[in-house]
């Protein structure tokens, strides 16, 4: 996030060529917009979720977790993993490194928000159900999805030539989304057969300031997710360029082997 401050003239220069801008950090105009939005929205969320909105009739104070829990689930399962899916498809069609890195960055963000969903879900469960884990269908399938994408990230770390690794990751990025859907529906079906409907973190009746807090939470999580995604992508992009540069150096070094 920190970026070396530049003078006016340097700024003008960097506007012309992208190279010096890249050299200083992962920040860009886009990340600053998302960063500010994330900060403002999160501050507003804290006020609305913790102070202004009332406790819920049945759940009491624990309803406040809902304003983070549900938005983070949506950011993770619906947005981030969808970006991984789309990035993987585009990579397979166009072999564009941009989309391969985007798919990988989105999966990392998705896994983090998945973890937030699981943690807030369990914290919500303790006061509401009396236990941290009640094999709630959504939470359970989220846990499996979390592990699915941890596996995807592990494949991205395999020691393979870059184009081979990208190809495998892209195929896996597509199959994993199919698995996510299968897991989600089969777990839901499984739980619906064996017990009556329990109170679910999502089944909450909201109105007024509660509804507004939920929307704020949604926007805040999206802003944080987008902010992290762009930063993470740019880190990956710079690593890629560094690898290119070190490859060029490695080739020169390799060529000079055996000569003295």
């Amino acid at each position: 996030m920190t970026r070396v401050t530049t003078t006016q003239s340097e700024d003008a220069k960097s506007a012309k060529s992208k190279a010096p801008r890249d050299a200083f950090g992962t920040a860009s105009k886009l990340t600053r917009v998302f960063g500010v939005a994330a900060f403002v929205l999160t501050s507003a969320l804290l006020v609305f979720a913790l102070v202004i909105s009332p406790p819920e009739v049945i759940q009491g104070e624990s309803v406040r977790l809902f304003y983070i829990h549900v938005p983070s689930a949506i950011v993770s399962l619906y947005l981030a993993f969808s970006i991984t899916l789309v990035g993987s498809i585009i990579y397979l069609r166009k072999k564009s490194i941009f989309w391969d890195l985007m798919a990988g960055a989105a999966a990392e963000i998705g896994v983090i928000f998945c973890a937030i969903t699981l943690i807030t879900g369990m914290l919500w469960g303790r006061p509401t159900w009396g236990v941290y884990w009640k094999w709630d269908p959504r939470l359970t399938s989220t846990a499996v999805s979390f592990l699915l994408y941890v596996g995807y990230l592990a494949v991205r770390k395999l020691e393979l030539p870059p184009h081979v690794r990208r190809q495998r990751a892209a195929i896996l990025g597509i199959i994993s989304f199919a698995n996510l859907i299968i897991v989600r529906y089969s777990v839901q079906w499984w739980r619906s057969l064996h017990q009556g409907t329990t109170l679910d973190p999502v089944d909450t009746q909201l109105d007024g300031s509660m509804l507004f807090s939920f929307f704020l939470g949604m926007l805040a999580m999206i802003a944080i997710g987008a902010w992290l995604l762009v930063h993470r992508f740019r880190v990956a992009w710079m690593e890629e360029r560094k690898a290119e540069q070190s490859l060029a150096a490695a080739i020169v070094e390799r060529q000079s082997e055996g000569r003295s």
């Binding site: 499996v144 999805s145 592990l147 699915l148 941890v150 596996g151 592990a154 494949v155 395999l158 020691e159 393979l160 030539p161 081979v164 190809q167 495998r168 195929i171 896996l172 199959i175 199919a178 698995n179 299968i182 897991v183 089969s186 777990v187 499984w190 057969l193």
Partner: protein, 231 residues
């Protein structure tokens, strides 16, 4: 494609016939896991309020059986790819003129056949050890076929993804188990329905297994080539 598959499957089965690794190592492992479940859960505990009265072990035996199968399948998949990795044989397969889809189907078929044999023997073990009485053999057979094809195909696909990698042994379970979670659910539900009824509850789950198996046969045929391509 199918003749290539037959060639590969016959080769893998011939290797097993000659080495008997699954028969003498993986099968005993499966039976040991059944015994361990008995130690872990305690055979004397009864399920309360159920008529007829059942032991906890009998009640949860479908799940225990399929978990055992899943763990044994991981070992079988490891074996299926260690015979290819030992002496650069994957390169040999790449150099041959075989259809990648045929290689996939052949390797999966060999795993499926061996797993099916293992399931029958472990199944008999479970019936004897957990005091289960067999019922609705039709639904059970369909369940076993569907689940075994699903495990064999999805497992082969993911095992190839990590084939030839140093982290293969630890990576394959991480990749395969979340993917096969719905198979474990479906197989356990269908088996429970077959053994304890109502049978009508089991058929949709058997259908899920069949759909999953078909999906992974299709994915394998399409994707296996590029997983095999380079490593």
């Amino acid at each position: 494609m199918l003749s290539d598959a037959r060639l590969i499957a016959a080769k893998d089965l011939r290797i097993e016939a000659s080495s008997r690794v699954l028969l003498t190592q993986v099968l005993p492992f499966g039976l040991m896991v059944l015994l361990l479940f008995g130690f872990g859960i305690s055979p004397d505990r009864q399920v309360l309020g159920e008529v007829p009265r059942r032991s906890v072990l009998e009640q949860v035996s479908p799940g225990l059986f399929w978990i055992t199968v899943l763990f044994a399948a991981l070992l079988g998949l490891g074996r299926s790819f260690s015979i290819e990795a030992a002496d650069g044989n994957l390169d040999g397969l790449r150099l041959g003129g075989l259809d990648p889809a045929g290689i996939f189907l052949g390797k999966a078929a060999a795993v499926i056949v061996q797993l099916a044999v293992l399931e029958v023997i472990v199944g008999v073990g479970a019936i004897l050890l957990f005091g289960v009485s067999l019922a609705n053999v039709g639904l059970l057979a369909v369940t076993i076929v569907g689940a075994t094809v699903a495990i064999g195909c999805a497992g082969t696909l993911y095992a190839t993804l990590a084939a030839g990698q140093r982290v293969r042994e630890t990576l394959v379970p991480l990749l395969v188990l979340p993917v096969l979670a719905p198979v474990l659910l479906g197989a356990t539900q269908a088996t429970e329905a077959a053994l304890f009824g109502p049978v009508s509850d089991g058929w949709p789950w058997a259908g899920l297994l069949g759909a999953f198996a078909l999906l992974y046969i299709a994915i394998g045929i399409v994707a296996f080539g590029s997983f095999l391509e380079e490593s």
